[in-house]
Symmetry: C2
Subunit: 500 residues, 2 copies
């Protein structure tokens, strides 16, 4: 007889690299995003929500992690698309879709077009600890303005947004650099010929990656990577850019060009790229951005920092990065800096991919989950959700009465629910505890006959359990009181108030 195989049960698991958010995790993020987008809105930016799916062709290939299959995106072939099965993909950021949207609608949009966008993006990367394949971004961009005032505005808005989210002034710094200055340095050391800008791209990439590692490897490490290469502690060798000592010094001079003020830093940069037209143009832009930020009173929160590179390949001018400067203690008790929570820059060529016409754009992206984690770390933990008032069910045949109590509370704006599970009072109070319910209402036959209800102050009970020494308070504020049935709402309000 053939053995009948039982169908295998599906595994109840969040897919690898993905995660779920529940309760306060959802509301806390929503509150933070509301604070940020309120700032964006006040700056005149309009909301935009593009579809999560784009054609692979429209998304382009701008992810730094190009050695992955599908270029780092989640992609599939669509049977319904016009030209015989176009490839579709989940967006990997909010900028590429903006470029598509702007190119598609530029005739009806104002110029410049300021927009903000909030939503998940997806990366087909190898998942790892703290590295997720779906995460939120919160972007603001100005498309259609080449003015450094647009870059300055984004930096000011980013500062205001971070403060609105709860990062105090002094706890963050916005570092600003310019790709044109970087290109100027490349020109000076012979890695970029303005007449043939394609040549030397690989070597320039090696230099950029070396600069980006200054934090981690220090000046010696970067110098090695600019030259012949570097062997790390494990013995692995990373090939260098092959610059001679003199040229490497020029790059190092650039990386360490930061001075006390934007003006002094720019003066130093001007010396370094004095023979490069593009480099000098970049320094001029930095000077204008610095002057505008200073005039607006943001000099204390912003800094021209030539060591900022930013990964994405599409930046063409100013780039910026917001770094949190306070230390937090991680789960293992180690002190560490939180690092970058937002970054962006100018990408004058993105829209041109579609229209053939150069459209200047500049914008910033906030790493929502990182910023939220920073706020939680600073506060010393995630926010606690407060549960609803629980109306318990003593007599199963009187559900309509308990439901009426619950409805009364809700009508008064109090979050409330009736117990819908099975079980005796002990089980119901255990449920109330798990729910974080501040108050439980009890009405049995005796109470009903007497026209009263019992109110149990569960929040007080929890506090008392935590602090046994306040026993006097317990007596003064009994954890359970009686109230007239027709005074239910007032009694619950009073009990909630004493817990507040």
């Amino acid at each position: 007889m053939a053995k009948i195989q039982k169908p295998r049960r599906p595994k109840a698991e969040t897919p690898r690299g993905f995660r779920d958010y529940a309760g306060a995790e959802v509301t806390e993020r929503a509150t933070m995003l509301k604070a940020i987008t309120d700032v964006y809105h006040r700056y005149g930016f309009d909301p935009l929500e593009t579809s999560a799916v784009e054609t692979v062709e429209a998304l382009g290939k701008f992810l730094p992690d190009l050695d992955r299959p599908n270029e780092g995106v989640f992609a599939w072939q669509d049977e319904d698309h016009g030209d015989q099965g176009a490839w579709m993909a989940l967006r990997y950021d909010l900028t590429a879709p903006l470029a598509r949207f702007y190119a598609q609608n530029h005739l009806s949009l104002p110029t410049p077009y300021r927009r903000y966008a909030v939503g998940p993006v997806w990366r087909n990367e190898k998942p790892g600890p703290g590295r997720f394949r779906q995460f939120y971004q919160c972007d603001a961009d100005t498309v259609g303005s080449a003015s450094p005032a647009a870059d300055a505005e984004i930096c000011m808005m980013l500062a205001d947004a971070l403060e609105a989210a709860g990062i105090a002034r002094g706890d963050y710094l916005i570092r600003i650099n310019n790709r044109k200055v970087l290109n100027g340095v490349m020109e000076v050391v012979g890695l970029l010929d303005p007449a043939a800008p394609e040549a030397g791209e690989a070597a320039r990439g090696t230099v950029l990656r070396a600069i980006d590692k200054l934090d981690r490897l220090g000046e010696t490490g970067v110098r090695a990577l600019l030259g012949v290469g570097r062997k790390d502690e494990s013995g692995d060798f990373t090939e260098g850019a092959g610059l001679g000592a003199e040229k490497a010094e020029i790059v190092m001079g650039f990386v360490t060009a930061e001075r006390e003020s934007a003006t002094l830093t720019c003066a130093r940069l001007r010396e370094l790229v004095s023979t490069s037209t593009i480099g000098l143009e970049g320094v001029s832009e930095l000077e204008r951005i610095g002057a505008l930020l200073e005039a607006a009173g943001y000099a204390d929160r912003t800094r021209i920092d030539p060591s900022i590179v930013r990964g994405l390949g599409y930046y063409t001018g100013p780039v910026y990065e917001a770094e949190l400067t306070f230390e937090i203690t991680d789960e293992k008790g180690r002190k560490r800096q939180f690092g970058s929570v937002a970054g962006g820059g100018r990408y004058d060529d993105l829209v041109m991919r579609f229209t053939g016409q150069r459209v200047p754009g500049t914008g910033v992206s906030i790493g929502v989950d990182r910023l939220l984690a920073a706020l939680q770390a600073k506060r010393g933990g995630a926010a606690e959700a407060s549960g609803p008032v629980l109306v318990t069910v003593m007599e199963k045949d009187r559900l309509a009465d308990y439901q009426a109590m619950t409805a009364e509370l809700r009508a008064a704006g109090i979050r409330a629910e009736m117990f819908l599970g099975g079980g005796n009072m002990a089980k119901q109070l255990k449920y109330a505890d798990k729910r974080g319910a501040p108050v439980a209402i009890i009405e049995g036959g005796d109470e009903r006959a007497a026209g009263i209800v019992q109110l149990k102050d569960l929040a007080l009970g929890a506090r008392l359990a935590a602090e046994i020494e306040t026993n006097e308070e317990w007596k003064a504020q009994p954890a359970q009181i009686e109230a007239p049935r027709d005074g239910l709402v007032e009694a619950v309000r009073a009990m909630l108030a004493r817990g507040a």
Copy 2:
């Protein structure tokens, strides 16, 4: 010489079947969702946001449209997943992910677990007019309670949510049925044997689809589909369920069993399924739901309606549907009913797929885009966004001064932006118009010397252009006024107030 082919430009197009939302479309939906989820929250429901991506295995196959490739979902094979390339997919609703989440976390979750969720879902369907492949859902579910009180609560909450969103009482109706009663009817007509519930599934499906068409085909059409079949106007023949006249009459009796009150309807249903245990169980549930809704004062907004089927295969008990009852006039001037904007029901087997244990669940899903469209149709159009105050740029070298004005306005809570494009004053005012800016600020050299600014009331200008007869008002309220530079904020506030 080989011809160098220019790379093809990507098309700037929203992928077919997808759409973008901009400006007021985004904020209007957000406002509506906030109103709805505030109601859910007050009912004690907690927010949950699961990942957009699930394994195909976890999602299961519950979509009605099974003749599509990939079972109607967007799916791809993942290289990173443990067991050699698991198939991943975008969620097609918010209920399947809830079942997965609950099965995964049930030990730490309270029982019952009430949760709400808002977000996009994706369907790999053939796109068509008004039929999108990504759309929002807004769900609320109670998992872990078998009580009809949980179903009644969902119906009450749905009514409250619709009213909070802006649908007036009297403009909607929540229709309730029970799959068990339907199964009871199937048993009575011989299409369901409780001892062998798998047999006859195809015929039952045909009957369900026939019932679902009552609105469109009327009683005669449904009767034909219950019997031998039906030829439509185009001559196409749809095969019927093959019931004899007597049995078809029993089904028709069920479909038309609605009476003036829930009590009378339930009494009629009881007669129809008197020989079926499961059918009588279903009627009892409907009676309890009806009684609870009546006690809570929702009898005027809810109705037991045996013709409600609901498409999804996973419902096992009560099902409900919210229908808008007002007429709207469509773009072609035709009056039509808006129809269903929300639906749901009880699905006691969903979690069992994962755990092997039956976990009762019940919940509702609001079709966000449909509800929003209904609100707009009722109001006679989408909401207009109000633009920011525009600070124009008369002198390019004084950006910092204009920026300071903009910052002053923002600090006072007024939405404001500085013009960042190129062009003369005419072009800047044209931009202001496109932006919907209510006020434009102008400060040239003369104004600066005199310590004043010019304020242009663009909102008033627009109103005057629309109503020429109010020319007297024009004189009384000049569209352009002068204000002292240090009284900028007050002057703008006053101008905004007169437009309000």
